[in-house]
């Protein structure tokens, strides 16, 4: 094992590592659900970029990157979007329910 050379892959790898930290910070410290969801997506972006770095370093056989991690990331991005869509709908319903029960309290 030796220190990685400073190339684009290493640079973006460090960026991905920082993004994971930022996302985690947001998830832990935010009370508002939608902000947590945003932070969760920031974290996801960082994890995907780390996969991209693995792919870039695995370049070979005439490909600019290892296709397998890239295919994994594409699946990941789509599934992350679906999870976000479901979570958003849950948050909306929860807010609507809270509003309705607040109304009951007042009446």
């Amino acid at each position: 094992m030796s220190l990685a050379t400073l190339d684009a892959a290493t640079l973006y790898g460090l960026m991905g590592a920082v993004l994971v930290g930022i996302g985690l910070y947001g998830i832990v410290l935010h009370d508002v659900f939608i902000r947590r969801l945003l932070a969760f997506n920031l974290l996801g972006g960082g994890v995907f970029i780390l996969f991209g770095v693995i792919a870039r370093r695995g370049a070979g056989a005439g490909f600019p990157g290892d296709p397998v991690p890239q295919a994994l990331v594409i699946t990941g991005v789509v599934v992350a979007f679906c999870a976000t869509a479901l979570a958003i709908t849950l948050i909306e319903r929860l807010a609507a329910k809270d509003e309705a029960s607040d109304g009951d309290d007042h009446s």
Partner: protein
């Protein structure tokens, strides 16, 4: 060297926008920050030569994810919350920094030689008849994952629909824009949507041999559908219509049928007979594109909130 300067600038901007998104007080501002984050990540993926992923990020990351978050920001009331005490912020910050540092160490001390399946992919790509290695991986080696992924997309829509208020069940999602904001939107929609559909189909088509593919193209098509709803050119369909449900299920059904046919014909579930690999993969891609585009569009539109039979 020049390239590295560009990479450094992109990385700094991504981190800056991410920090801003987490720290800002205004929810709408945070969503704007997230859309910017998606745009910049696309550049990062392009610089990593992961062009397929860059296309996905451009379509999904900033585009439809941003729009779905905006939908929520209209419906949710802003909640005022106090900042956490400084001690908690420092403690959490330190822990998160430690995790980042550990990941950074992994990045800085890579395995040599780097693990890679690129050579295996190159050896077997020819048997799929495809030129794009990522499409090959998605449709051949990891066909089961891709199949399950399309089912997950559909399940997410079931989840969203199951959160429909009782009164609106069987109705359709509302995507109305107030008349004051209409302005040039309908004209814009009429001109842009046909162009967008052509681009979406093109991205699916080139996906066989060059970066592109069904998820990216389907996302563009879904975005055009949503745009038509926002511009008031069309309404979201009622979720009870059987033709809509058939469209949603067609992709996974075709995929499953061809996969099952692979057991007698090619010896394994989701295996393709050598001679027919490319036409079969194309058939699956076309069916999946239509289903995924419809599913993603309805995911963005959300659960029905217009009671059936009642027009607003």
């Amino acid at each position: 060297m020049l390239g590295l300067a560009l990479d450094l600038l992109i990385a700094a901007l991504v981190i800056g926008v991410a920090l801003w998104t987490v720290r800002t007080r205004d929810d709408f501002a945070a969503i704007v920050g997230f859309v910017a984050y998606g745009l910049l990540l696309t550049l990062a993926w392009a610089r990593l030569a992961a062009y397929d992923v860059a296309l996905t990020e451009a379509a999904i990351g900033g585009g439809v994810t941003g729009v779905i978050l905006l939908r929520a920001s209209i419906r949710l009331k802003p909640v005022a919350t106090a900042r956490k005490p400084i001690g908690a912020r420092i403690l959490v910050g330190l822990l998160c920094a430690a995790i980042s540092a550990a990941l950074a160490a992994v990045v800085l001390l890579p395995m040599t030689p780097a693990p890679s399946l690129a050579i295996e992919v190159r050896t077997h790509l020819a048997s799929t008849g495809l030129g794009n290695p990522i499409a090959g991986v998605l449709m051949a080696y990891r066909a089961l994952d891709t199949f399950l992924e399309t089912v997950v997309v559909l399940l997410a829509l079931f989840g969203v629909w199951s959160l429909t208020p009782d009164a609106a069940w069987g109705g359709r999602p509302a995507m109305a824009v107030p008349a004051a904001a209409f302005g040039p939107l309908p004209l814009f929609g009429r001109l842009l949507i046909p162009v967008g559909i052509v681009i979406g189909v093109y991205i699916v088509w080139v996906g066989a041999d060059a970066p592109g593919g069904k998820f990216q193209g389907a996302t563009i098509l879904a975005a055009m559908w949503i745009l038509a709803m926002m511009a008031g050119l069309t309404q979201a369909p009622s979720i009870g219509r059987w033709r809509l449900r058939l469209l949603l299920a067609a992709g996974p059904i075709v995929f499953l049928a061809i996969g099952l046919a692979g057991i007698p014909l090619a010896g394994a579930f989701l295996a393709y007979p050598e001679a027919l690999a490319k036409p079969l993969i194309l058939l699956i891609e076309v069916a999946l594109t239509l289903s995924i585009a419809a599913t993603l569009g309805l995911l963005v539109a959300g659960p029905p909130d217009v009671t059936p039979g009642v027009e607003p």
